[in-house]
Amino acid sequence: MKIAVCVKQVPDAAAPKRLDPQTKRLDRSVEGAINPFDVHAVEEALRIKEGGEGGEVVLVSMGPAKAAESLRKALAMGADRVVLVTDEAAEGSDLLGTAKALAAALAREEPDLVLFGQQSSDSDGAVLWAAVAEKLRRPVISQVAELTLSDGKARGKRQTEFGYDVIEAPLPAVIAVSDAINEPRYPSLKGIMGAKSKPQDTVTSSDLGLSADEIGEAGKRTEVYAVGDPPPRGDSVKIEDDGSAAEKIVDYLSERKLI
């Protein structure tokens, strides 16, 4: 079984996040790390491979050349190789451009299964898989907390607002996993040492047959006009309980007609 895991480099959680006032894009010059939600997808792919399916786990990513450093953690966990779409023309891609580039890279790999993490920690995006599945014309199951594969089908159990669903789709399929699906392993020392020698291919958008106006700034269908402060909250009150806190809360709520 060939499994492709879509992963993204995000600013490290410890690095201060800021928006570049010029481009209004996230400042990505800070230390990078693999998106923590994607690590669960990597782990799931490795478990499938180790669980008897065998095959290959390929990481597919789009980002600057330096993203390769962050992806090394997933290689150290056990993934086999990386395909990184990196191209100046792809910089500033929005959802649509990213979906096109990833779908093109995935189409070349022809995986049996494509896995995504449940969101990106930097943009809070939680929709990319559905756009990629559409571009690939493959079935999609999102928010999967339990994944089983058998008879050429993927079966995913997921939580929704109302309870849970179990959805089945024939392979090849696109699956986005929730972070409840597993507890990712830590890379072993051997894994870390071995990661450096694993293949890391870089492809450009033109290698993928994409024209420059489909991706990056030129292919954008959305834009950021301005970035400002959130609306302030009203005056806040803080009290210490002296035995009458419950009464005070009730007074506060009734003044505001909340009870």
Binding site: R138, T160, E161, A245
Partner: protein, 321 residues
């Protein structure tokens, strides 16, 4: 501006979030506000959208839409947008709607802005308000071309009933082969005793500071007295104290009730982003330095084991229940 609003429904009811998006479309005006309802046996249900500002409701009544799966819905919406020329399509976030919106964006080669808390018309263009970086900033976002697709944060918009009748028009979507490949093999609904957290005007939430799963009774009793729903933080859901469907935060639901009572919740960013749009936040926590006090309207430093039962009693007495 010709706007189409995707209306989600569950067990015979149009969902509050999508009605909120419809009210928003109606408020922004434009020459035509339409809604779309996809399902099986939903024509009656669809009529109800008129009261929230839809002039026309397009209905596709087909067993293919019986289960909440996104891909057949992308087919239906893409066809409708193509035939009717809608330039703006609005969705309220949910597990289903997020996938439909993104699939539709890819199908129509259209821009999608997500996690919006508002949509306004400024200088003749539509501008979405999108909190970012853990809600420490708000970005004004827009579209370079039509069709424009907007996905609102759940709980961000309040439905406003304005009265009116909708013209119901049926249509027959053609489905792509791959769209029907995924099938629902099982669906289980949790029995909820109160309103769901996304629809509730009042939410009482519990965090790790409760001390143990049995202490959720305190939270449940207060919620019941206030006529509200119960929510939980990720920490307690991960610990198995409360079901995931109640989880509020980055990896759970976003809510914006009129009143949010946080019991034993520190206010980590993970949780904050899911509830800080609440109109009034009351926090009870024994740690005076808990970050939740930075954004609570009323912060109470004290022992929730003392305060919450007393509060429940007082609310019950006041409301006579």
């Amino acid at each position: 501006m010709a706007t189409l609003v995707f209306l989600e429904h569950h067990e015979g009811e149009l969902q509050k979030g999508s009605l909120g998006a419809l009210s928003k479309a109606s408020e922004l005006g434009g020459d035509d506000v339409a809604a779309v309802v996809l399902g099986s046996g939903v024509e009656e249900l669809a009529k109800g959208a008129g009261r929230f500002g839809a002039g026309t409701v397009f209905v596709a009544d087909d067993p293919a839409f019986e289960k909440p799966l996104p891909q057949p819905r992308v087919d239906a919406l893409a066809q409708l947008v193509g035939e009717q020329g809608f330039d703006t399509i609005l969705f309220a976030a949910s597990v289903l709607s997020a996938d439909v919106a993104a699939g539709l964006a890819a199908r129509l080669d259209a821009g999608l802005n997500w996690d919006l808390v508002d949509l306004v018309s400024e200088d003749g263009r539509l501008v979405g308000k999108r909190p970012a970086l853990g809600d420490t900033v708000v970005a004004d976002v827009g579209w370079t071309a039509a069709p424009r697709i907007a996905l609102f944060r759940s709980g961000a918009l309040e439905p406003k009933e304005t009265g009116g009748e909708a013209d119901v028009r049926t249509f027959d979507p053609r489905l792509e082969d791959f769209s029907s490949a995924a099938v629902m093999v099982e669906q289980a609904h949790e029995q909820s005793t109160g309103p769901s957290i996304e629809d509730a005007d009042v939410i009482v939430a519990g965090g790790r500071g409760l001390g143990g799963p049995e202490k959720f009774t305190l939270v449940e009793e207060l919620a019941q007295a206030l006529g509200g729903a119960v929510a939980a933080t990720r920490a307690v859901v991960d610990s198995g104290w409360y079901p995931y469907s109640a989880q509020v935060g980055q990896t759970g639901r976003s809510v914006a009730p009129k009143l949010y009572v946080a019991c034993g919740i520190s206010g980590a960013i993970q949780h904050k982003v899911g509830m800080q749009s609440s109109s009034t936040i009351v926090a009870i926590n024994k740690d005076p330095n808990a970050p939740i006090f930075d954004f609570a309207d009323l912060g109470v430093v004290g022992d929730l084991n003392e305060i919450v039962p007393k509060l429940t009693e007082l609310v019950r007495a006041r409301r006579g229940r």
